[in-house]
């Protein structure tokens, strides 16, 4: 076994300035909480301040959202989350679609203590809600993906620092989200963010950024558009600043449903909007360049870990695969290719049939931290489909890792399948919900308890939100389920054909909403239509593209 203290994960390590900043922020928030409790801040004023520290007040208790910058966690940080779950919550936490972590039961009075705990392990909850620049998200396979043009994480970190406590852009018209992808296959949903940053190569072979703007989900889902096909790396921050300044000055503030940048881009027109941004940018770009030294210094934090050069010589993996079909199934679905021979990225499924999607107990968190130390370089990642990944697992370690995950109920072999459902908290925890979602996810799981059938169906992404706000990205689910309220009853609007990847698309409505007791049946019917009518290797999404929604619609509404 490796010694846990001898290596550090290849992730950004705070320097003194970073550490001071999170400590001073925690102290500031402690003071703000005291001011509020003394009555010196109104509800409304405190609301803005607490949201900027991740604290919502919802159905049962406050909810605290903690930032996991572009999905990277060290084993030490995971243990801290376990500790917080135990000491301040009911023994579990929830991983979100933006790679963050939520606690559902913290006490308002104790949140300052939680922030101190977080600061002690280089974590915080800064700008995880409120109308400001949010946590930057990225590809969960960053740095290990075979199809990567360049590792996006250094740029994510540069953006993280720039967005953190930005003095000019903390009171935007609406929330603002940036995602960065460095691979050919977009696993970061960059087309559905306020700004999408995509590492690309130009004709001269230089690497730079393609910048997209105006994407977003929620009530009016819109796919982002290219505002600049190629931006030199050194200009990253000046370009972001130009976009943010135009948005801050001209974004609508009269109607919160029209306040996202996607509406500004739509109402202004892409061409005009681009002109405004470029004109602003030309005036600020000189003097704001990122130096090569700075980029190199940040990159150094993400230097590849000390991979075992002999990892691929292992013979045990193929033996175990041949001998143990359950392991082979897990290997097939829950591991992904790694650019270093002899390594795989191993998913930890947070989609066990009987637990709410994305939830983890303190015991599981601690155990996964131990596994990360034992079998990888002590690093854990969260994915935007609410699972975790150990990105650097040696092939020889996969079998014992799988065995350990099985005992933790974290080895359901369903990554990328129809039971790998993205689901928001819905009526169970959210005051805005029209309908339950966790219960429906559970029912769908029960109806699809035959793993062979699930594997035969293959890549189908179900995303389910309890209301229009679309926290679970239902509009880009291959199958989207949206809770709607009909005279106080829970109904569900189904969409087909959405996607958040390269071929990003907003799903099309299947027909009228279906009742609570019909929704699972509707989903299984849709899957049956697919299985019966697909051509050879055709995926669900491809079939929807080929035949449209009619064959599905006819069957689902046949009995009505």
């Amino acid at each position: 076994m490796r010694l846990t203290s001898n290596y550090k994960p290849s992730m950004y390590q705070y320097n003194e300035q970073d550490q001071t900043l999170v400590e001073e922020r925690a102290a500031q928030y402690r003071r703000q909480t005291e001011d509020f409790l003394k009555g010196e801040l109104s509800e409304d004023q405190f609301r803005a301040l607490r949201l900027r520290n991740g604290l919502y007040i919802q159905t049962h208790a406050p909810m605290l959202r903690i930032a996991v910058p572009y999905g990277l966690l060290s084993s030490r940080q995971l243990r801290k989350l376990a500790h917080i779950a135990r000491e301040y919550d009911k023994g579990y936490c929830h991983f979100t679609t933006r790679q963050n972590v939520q606690f559902n039961w913290p006490e308002l009075e104790r949140v300052p203590d939680i922030l101190d705990e977080l600061a002690s392990v280089q974590m915080h909850s800064i700008q995880t809600s409120g109308n400001c620049m949010r946590n930057t998200t990225s590809d969960h396979l960053a740095g290990v993906a075979a199809d990567e043009i360049e590792d996006p994480r250094p740029y994510c970190e540069i953006i993280r620092q720039w967005t953190t406590l930005h003095p000019e852009f903390d009171y935007l018209p609406r929330k603002f989200k940036i995602a960065v992808s460095g691979a050919r296959h977009d696993r970061a949903a960059t087309q559905l963010h306020d700004i999408g940053v995509h590492l690309v190569k130009n004709e001269a072979g230089e690497t730079g950024f393609r910048i997209l703007v105006g994407g977003g989900l929620g009530r009016t889902p819109i796919i982002g558009q290219v505002i600049r096909p190629f931006l030199e790396k050194k200009h990253l921050l000046s370009y972001l600043e130009a976009i943010l300044r135009i948005y801050n000055l001209f974004g609508r503030r009269d109607n919160k449903y029209k306040a996202r940048i996607k509406i500004l881009v739509k109402e202004t027109g892409l061409e005009k909007f681009t002109e405004m941004v470029e004109a602003e940018w030309r005036q600020i770009k000189n003097g704001m360049e990122l130096s090569d030294e700075r980029i190199a210094a940040i990159k150094a934090h993400f230097a590849p870990p000390a991979y075992d050069q002999d990892a691929a010589h292992d013979q045990s993996l193929s033996a175990h695969l041949a001998a143990d079909p359950a392991f082979a199934t897990w290997y097939k679905y829950n591991t992904a290719e790694h650019r270093v021979p002899g390594y795989r990225a191993a998913f930890i499924s947070l989609k066990a049939p009987d637990s709410p999607p994305g939830d983890m107990t303190d015991m599981q968190l601690d155990a996964v931290a131990d596994l990360a130390d034992r079998y990888t370089f002590g690093e854990i990642r969260s994915t935007h489909r609410q699972n975790l990944i150990l990105a650097d697992a040696k092939q020889a370690d996969l079998f014992p890792l799988w065995q350990a995950l099985c005992t933790l109920k974290l080895a359901t072999p369903n990554i990328g399948t129809v039971t790998d459902i993205i689901c928001c908290p819905g009526l169970d925890f959210c005051s805005l919900a029209n309908a339950g979602s966790i219960g429906v996810a559970k029912e769908i799981n029960e109806a699809l308890d035959d793993m062979d059938y699930v594997h035969d169906i293959g890549d189908v992404k179900i995303n389910m939100s309890g209301c229009m706000n679309g926290c679970a990205h239902q509009s880009v689910g291959h199958i989207g389920i949206l809770g709607v309220d009909k005279k106080g009853a829970e109904w569900y609007q189904i969409t087909l054909g959405g996607s958040s990847e390269n071929e990003a698309a907003i799903g099309e409505r299947l027909g009228p909403a279906v009742a609570r007791d019909e929704v699972t049946q509707a989903i299984t019917t849709i899957l049956e239509v697919y299985v019966n009518q697909r051509q050879q290797e055709e995926s669900f999404l491809d079939m929807v593209k080929r035949v449209g929604i009619t064959p599905f619609k006819e069957r689902v509404y046949a009995d009505h």
């Binding site: 001071t20 803005a48 003095p167 000019e168 300044r245 000055l249 503030r253």
Partner: protein, 150 residues
């Protein structure tokens, strides 16, 4: 009334004039609308002149006159309206305005650190006991990730 300017508590010398009030002697401040209407008269005013901006006003309207304006007051109708943060930045960063930029109205004392970093150097408190709070809040952080503009 006392205000904070350059991290010190001082007496405010400016009298705000309503749009229909007669011109008074001494230091005065007027709305952007009045500035536009009475520009010539105001330029000839013997004492200091300030202009009060709302979030929706455009600082570029003042671009040509900034050298003659001693004070620009950013008047917050709502603390959450962040446009004034960009207006302050534009005044300093784009138009190189050298005079006083003062926050007034319904901003939060908790926003003064950010405001001071986008060029605001004076604060009119909502109530007198905010003076010391603001002075304290101005040093909430000893570190930062972005350049500030003075």
């Amino acid at each position: 009334m006392q205000i904070i300017k350059d991290k010190a508590i001082i007496d405010d010398t400016f009298t705000p004039l309503a749009d229909d009030a007669p011109l008074a002697s001494g230091d005065i401040s007027v709305s952007l609308a009045r500035w536009k209407n009475d520009r010539e008269t105001l330029l000839a005013h013997a004492d200091k002149v300030g202009v009060r901006l709302q979030a929706g006003d455009s600082v570029s309207d003042l671009a040509d006159d900034l050298k003659r304006i001693d004070l620009i007051e950013l008047n917050f109708a709502e603390f959450a309206d962040g446009r004034l943060f960009s207006q302050a930045w534009l005044l300093r960063g784009r138009y190189h305005y050298q005079g006083e930029i003062r926050a007034a109205g319904h901003y939060l004392t908790d926003q003064t650190f950010y405001l001071s970093r986008v060029g605001v150097n004076a604060f009119q408190p909502a109530k007198p006991d905010h003076l010391n709070t603001i002075l304290a809040n101005l040093s909430d952080f000893s570190v930062k990730y972005q350049p500030s503009i003075q």
